[in-house]
């Protein structure tokens, strides 16, 4: 048992509680407390984007979010997004937007969020949105097409 206050927030549409230290990383809470292992730890220092989740609908790096700042807020992980938009995930495989897969959960979250904000994002807008998601396999071409092929 700890003396930490219980943190209540919404994860993928469900009310959840976590009684870890408020300084714990949201990423660790998701993976170890809630078993949501879709979000990956690539670098752990805010460089790679593999741990991207949505916080109140905005993409953030869950390795840089102290879980204490999530109290009362809404978190969505790639698990929920893959259910909401299975076509995006399907297109990622069809276009070769996935190779080793380490960056894929973060990229799916960022692409989903971009399309929510801007349904017909241009190539340049997609590139800017993905500036914080590193992929070392694909050269990004398949990733761009996975979003563009779903336009209108």
């Amino acid at each position: 048992m700890t003396d930490h206050p219980t943190l209540a927030f919404e994860v993928n549409g469900e009310a959840r509680e976590c009684n870890a230290s408020p300084e714990m990383r949201l990423l660790d809470c998701l993976r170890y407390d809630f078993g949501l292992t879709g979000s990956k730890e690539g670098c752990g220092e805010g460089e790679c984007g593999a741990c991207t989740v949505l916080l109140d609908g905005q993409p953030v790096l869950s390795c840089l979010v102290p879980v204490g700042q999530c109290a009362g807020r809404r978190v969505e992980t790639v698990e929920a997004i893959a259910e909401k938009d299975p076509e995006l995930v399907e297109r990622m495989t069809e276009t070769g937007g996935i190779q080793c897969g380490a960056c894929t959960p973060g990229i799916v979250v960022t692409l989903y969020s971009l399309r929510q904000a801007n349904p017909e994002a241009s190539r340049e807008e997609i590139r800017r949105a993905l500036a914080g998601n590193l992929c070392r396999c694909t050269g990004y071409e398949g990733i761009f097409r996975a979003l563009e092929d779903g336009h209108g």
């Binding site: 984007g49 991207t52 979010v65 102290p66 700042q69 109290a71």
Partner: protein
């Protein structure tokens, strides 16, 4: 960071009386430390939900920007886009989208890295830093010109118990042009090797007003005052040359993990020259 968040007055009192308590906003600098380092840094105090540190508003002759304003919010705000294009440019090149959604202007300034992207912009826009602290049961404000805020390497004018509430940016006069240039390992998501901001105007082909500042070339972000005075009054091409070479003279970059002193000095001179040269020769 246990409480979320109580009152700002109480937060200032705790900061004044509990040494080692560190204020946190978006956490994008603080959270990079390993759990072990973070434990050693002491406890955090969450400042991210105080109304006194929020919002963007035109007030008289200046624009107020709350310390907790994120770089995403800066890019989206109509008043910032209209008056401070250099700040929009800096905000759109801090990290990537995910960082911009969390990182704040107040955090960037309080963290006081000499490489902070927004800092040279605040210097050339001659921002005023508005600080708050507790005096009895009142929150009192203190205003510090940005030029006096960074007092040494990672050292600021913040007194114990003081927090940055926000910034006042004087509205730029008519015809004042702004520029921002960051040089890093790649365009996005990389910490700067050199970062330069400019505010200035020409008349009749000559530089009339010029403010220049740079980051990653000294222990603090610096105004390039010798470059400014070397260039004012000269025709644009000569002014650009003079500013570029004076900028190299007055700065002391170092070798570190991101770059070398020689590279930084050469690039600083070129970026300053190009930015000055990009001014409209006659803004009348």
């Amino acid at each position: 960071m246990a409480e979320r968040c109580g009152s700002l007055l109480e937060a200032c009192r705790r900061l004044a009386t509990e040494p080692g308590l560190r204020p946190i906003l978006g956490g994008t600098d603080l959270m990079v430390a390993s759990p072990h380092e973070r434990a050693r840094q002491g406890r955090w105090l969450d400042l991210s939900c105080f109304d006194e540190m929020r919002g963007i508003a035109e007030r008289g002759g200046s624009v107020w920007i709350g310390a907790a304003t994120t770089f995403t919010a800066l890019q989206a705000d109509a008043s910032i886009r209209r008056h401070f294009p250099a700040l929009v440019a800096a905000a759109s090149e801090v990290g990537g989208w995910q960082i911009q959604n969390r990182a704040t202007l107040g955090g960037n300034v309080a963290n006081a890295s000499p490489a902070g992207d927004s800092l040279p912009v605040l210097a050339v826009l001659e921002a005023v830093v508005v600080l708050g602290s507790a005096a009895g049961d009142r929150l009192v404000e203190r205003r510090v010109p940005y030029a006096g805020f960074h007092v040494g390497y990672r050292a600021t004018a913040l007194a114990p118990g003081e927090v940055i509430l926000g910034f006042e940016l004087p509205l730029p006069g008519p015809g004042l042009e702004q520029r921002f240039q960051k040089v890093g390992t790649r365009q996005a998501q990389a910490i700067s090797k050199v970062v330069v901001a400019l505010a200035g105007r020409c008349a009749g082909g000559r530089v009339q007003t010029l403010r220049l500042a740079a980051g990653s070339v000294a222990a603090t972000p610096v105004r390039l005052r010798q470059a400014e005075s070397a260039a004012v009054g000269l025709e644009l091409a000569a002014a650009a040359e003079a500013a570029g070479s004076a900028a190299r003279q007055e700065t002391t970059p170092i070798d570190d993990v991101r770059s070398t002193a020689a590279y930084r000095s050469a690039v600083l001179g070129r970026v300053v020259r190009r930015l000055v040269l990009s001014l409209t020769p006659d803004s009348e």
